[in-house]
Symmetry: none
DNA sequence: CATGAATGAGAGTTCATTCAT
DNA sequence: GATGAATGAACTCTCATTCAT
């Protein structure tokens, strides 16, 4: 595949991403993507066989870009709790978004593809890596007496499950910003922070 | 609508329930249900206009039957922790099921209908009522010195969000029974129980 | 058929009449009539096989009731021109109505049934009888020097065709009250009246 | 849309035209046209959304082709009355046709679409332009002492309404060639011609 | 007579997918 | 590589009509 092809493929994936954000995964048809990309029907088939394949690429792109959620823009002097608060703030924003987000599409996609090998399951990879980072933060926090905790990994995982619970609740039953705050505060209190 | 009609409607809902368990919500067509029920195309439309309407009835049925999750078969001498353990056991079973469950269908349904009035949102209703029961259990547990907790409601809600997180994770990234146990244990430890 | 049956049949025809006025002929289904009459599906079939049969009855009713258009409420001292003016006024009203009228339905019906025996063609019967009356009026008018005309029958028929032309134009291209007046005046002028 | 598409679209319109001539407007389904054109179900939808759209195109075609009704094949030395007679002859043919004509379909179409903007109402456009031409012919006829008339426009319009009346009568109550002749003669007599 | 549940034919419409150009 | 016309399968939905009760 030539350079031009790679560019085009990337263009398709990026455009499709927007479509998935708008409509979720299942509702999106090849036609939707063809139209969004303003390419020919046959043209799309040169690059992708179906929407699953396209969405997989979207996810790959996503994970490349979001790997650095934690590392970006962090003040040199920030404490562990500072960083945790920052992370929570990001998560809150993500939880409350209903439209400009891939959340639903991702869930829908994995409903159909839950048996993908773990290495291809971006959701799992992100979950696990987030757990690791939180674990590390807690460790640092404990060392610096900011945080009280005697099971770093367990706590980190618990936090992530709460966040997952908040996310899915937001998408299905709706949730208010206050309710999110309340849950995040509960976690922080459990850590002896804030 | 006569008695016979009511029976038939119930039959359709129950049959459709199985279809939804197998295929989720979005993938199910009126035709699927027609075939599962072995009735005529037009016949189904006498009772329901679309799959959403049918699924709503399925949910109604569901919530009627599961309202008593907590109350059933509870030993007279059971302690609060006993009951909590029982509840967790039920939840674990529910979390780990992938096929014989409406979980996915429900999520998919509410992805599309998240703005239903709260009274029609079974998910929300069940969540809230579960929170209340857990809260009560904690209260009793604290009174009997089985449990340590200083924020009954917050803790109850936190527990439910973890369970939600586990549920959605199970459906999307997969989860092992051990992993579920680990999370439930973490919660119990936090309550000073077990 | 008992008295009760006759009453019911009449009820159906009268109710269906309203439906036809609203929707024309072709668009109307047996279901529409069942619903308008608030009777059972099977019940309607006891009396009529299809919408054509019902519409035929509507037409029969119609022709019974409208036979006396000319004879009703005519002042003893009215001149031929007076009566003609009255008739034109009625026709104008009929022409300009778009909704509360069977006009369209009748046209649609005869598009499909133009080969009905003349005795069953209400449209033709009404046309012919109107021609006769106009002819008579002209004759009287001429005798009384109100009207100038040397071909009573031809003129009467010509007038009726103009009215038909106005009626169908009103239903298809639309027509203003002024335009109708203009045409009616043109006719009167041709008769040397007004 | 390429040249080939334009050809195909034209082919569809022309084929559909025949279908409309046979069945009128309302009875025609997309399926009828698909079958008449011997194309695929989906294929038709590439070009048209529904039968109304197709019929509109048929009408457009029609009006392009019939604009020149008056101008064609007219002898250099023809008098106004000659041309009028020719026109009447054409009209008579049109009036008497029951099958090979769009008349019914057009009426049915405008029953449903009477509120189209005047510019899209072919019926109205043709009526108005015919009135203008007749008016002109009368004027010329009067100048050449062939015709007697003191209200050119009024008479032209009156003639057209009679023709409309004859046309709709032919479609609904049926009409004999003689009856048409009789009406046309009546008009000519009124013009002092023949 | 009357009911209304049930059937199944048939119309509309949308898309994934192919293929000649 | 790219296009976009074409196909046909699959779904949705509506009614005329029948028939057991």
């Amino acid at each position: 595949m030539g350079e031009k092809s790679i560019q085009k493929k990337k263009y398709i994936v990026e455009t499709a991403r927007k479509v998935f954000m708008e409509k979720g995964f299942k509702k999106v048809t090849m036609k939707d993507i063809v139209e969004a990309c303003d390419i020919s029907r046959g043209g799309l088939y040169l690059y992708f066989e179906n929407t699953s394949q396209i969405f997989s690429e979207v996810l790959k792109l996503e994970s490349e870009e979001t790997d650095d959620v934690f590392s970006k823009n962090i003040d040199e002097n920030a404490t562990a709790v500072d960083i945790l608060l920052l992370f929570f703030k990001e998560q809150k924003k993500e939880i409350l978004k209903r439209k400009d987000t891939l959340t639903q599409a991702i869930y829908e996609f994995y409903f159909e593809n839950y048996n993908l090998p773990k290495k291809d399951n971006v959701l799992k990879k992100q979950f696990d890596s987030a757990v690791k980072v939180i674990e590390k933060l807690i460790e640092i926090g404990v060392e610096n007496d900011e945080i009280v905790c005697d099971d770093y990994e367990g706590t980190a995982r618990n936090i992530m499950y709460v966040l997952e619970g908040l996310k899915i609740s937001a998408q299905t039953t709706g949730i208010t910003p206050d309710a999110v705050d309340r849950e995040l505060l509960y976690i922080l209190k459990g850590l002896g922070a804030e």
